[in-house]
Chain length 328, copies 2
């Protein structure tokens, strides 16, 4: 069944709209009109997901809807910004009602949970491509950037790393009967953006990034932008029980109980990696209310480059796992 | 040759960047940080262009780059908003350097001409899909909306209508040797967004829309949203000399010298259609400084629906040209 652009938007995306008072005019005109409060800066980011590149064709459409928004919220979290509005550009091969129903349902769930209003977009017929742009606020000068890490800062990560990358690998290798797979798949399909935690880091962290390309690459961005280096300890990188069980079952090569390519170069983690100066580390205790695991994994140093060491002091060859020492 | 995402952005899209003082942080972090001046509202719109749907594969990449931004600027023009920032999401089948060079060149030209800064985006490998989002400002309460037409308002359009639609048709029918084709093709590939004119309409027009789907459909949106109707005169719809010459050569059926399907339902015009109350019509004279042709084509009436009449008083059957009388 074919649906016109207007009926797709009205039927699926306006059925239970979050309503924000700062939306002066939402969907339905040439553009949306939005009120940014005085004293706040606008923070905006966009990400595109494409079938067969970012997700396989058989992915459940709810997960696609959820994740297309979640990865953008994760970028705002890494800025310490509060999300407010979203636009959605949807290119669809055919307007299948069951697909749209599931996609929009999980998209709107996350909108509601995050207090975000859909204010515009575009629906066209074409290959399956989803582009989402999220806009939010941060008090002037308070955004958390990549370029603010200082020697002596301790390096932390939230949650556990490598789960999504392992799920992707297991699915590709059709090892989906392994114990723990369902849990890992959930990490791949429904990553939780740490928005409140990012906001809480505003007065604590120096530099923040979200881990989408793998720890080594993303921490590498912080180092390059800040003109510093770092040493991290592979045995301190947090991993989930499900990941450990699967890696043991598969007999993957490990260093200190970690599979380096998963925890250093896995990608799709959507955890936060951030640096905190020593005199503000105790402030992290107040953030325990978020019930989010946070682990110290290393330290920022003056000498450029990322160094990863094992518990026995031996260096881990990062170049093997996609890390390139670069400066911008 | 394959280029990484970062080198595509740096090499092609940052080579001659417009630099705005309200961009606190541009490309290179998790998100952009932007300053919306106090007292101004944010206006934002997004549009997606897809190969083989919005343009044929052989289209010159410069035109694709230009138009992907121009259609969004046209939406801001229709709001009376001043454009400021743009994000670009580019899905490319392969990173062909000559394609990227031409695409980015005309995209950046229009950025410069419009004072717009590229502040973020995403480059991925996939089918050729371009999503552009433009953000701009309007003084609080001054945006020009679709829902503000009042009975008695005169209806105006800028420029000429039907040129782009005729170019599309000629190209499809391989009638590209016709006199006037080159001029019409330019209207299709390089539509001029009437940004300054839209801003100047803020204190003059009641309702404004840009014509992307054809006059009947887009004026229809104004009527439906405003709860009014209109009568327009087909002999008053402005057409170009090139269009007249081509239509005559092709022997197309005309009413009062107009081919109805081109001027009423052509689409891709990116001219502005707006309504002005009688007591502000004289204010339009001050806008002659823009050297933009503006033509009165009809009047807003209390009775819902769009009526189009010929010079002899006979009604033109709009239903034949894609106009549906609908209310929202």
């Amino acid at each position: 069944m074919s649906l016109s652009e207007f009926s797709i938007i009205e039927k699926y995306f306006m059925r239970r709209a979050t309503t924000r008072r700062d939306v002066s005019l939402g969907i339905g005109d040439d553009a949306a009109i939005l009120d940014v409060p005085d004293g706040l800066q606008l923070v905006t980011t966009t990400d595109t997901l494409i079938e067969d590149i970012h997700f396989p064709a058989e992915t459940n459409p709810g997960a696609i809807g959820y994740k297309s928004l979640a990865v953008n919220l994760s970028d705002l979290a890494a800025m310490g910004a509060e999300p407010a509005w979203v636009t959605l550009s949807l290119s669809l091969p055919d307007a299948r009602e069951d697909w749209l129903d599931a996609f929009s349902n999980d998209f709107l769930d996350l909108c509601e949970k995050s207090g975000v209003q859909l204010v515009g977009g575009d629906t066209v017929s074409g290959p399956l491509v989803i582009t989402v742009q999220v806009m939010g606020f941060v008090p002037a000068g308070k955004a958390l950037r990549r370029d603010a890490a200082k020697p002596g800062d301790r390096i932390f990560v939230t949650g556990t790393l490598g789960d999504a990358a392992l799920a992707l690998r297991l699915r590709k290798e059709q090892e989906t009967a392994l114990s723990g797979y369902t849990e890992l798949l959930r990490r791949l399909e429904y990553p939780e953006p740490h928005v409140s935690y990012g906001i809480a880091l505003r007065d604590i962290a120096n530099a923040v990034i979200d881990i989408s390309d793998g720890l080594a690459a993303d921490l590498g961005h912080i180092l390059a932008r800040s003109g510093v280096g770092a040493t991290i300890h592979i045995d301190q990188i947090p991993v989930s029980h499900a990941l450990q069980v699967c890696c043991n079952q598969l007999g993957l090569t490990q260093i200190d109980g970690r599979v380096p390519e998963l925890v250093l170069a896995g990608g799709d983690d959507y955890e936060l990696c951030f640096t905190v100066p020593e005199d503000r580390i105790e402030n992290l205790q107040a953030l325990e209310r978020f019930a989010l695991a946070v682990t110290e994994i290393g330290v920022i140093e003056p000498m450029e480059g990322l160094r990863c060491v094992a518990a026995d002091g031996e260096p881990v060859a990062l170049q093997r796992f996609g890390y390139q020492h670069f400066s911008e």
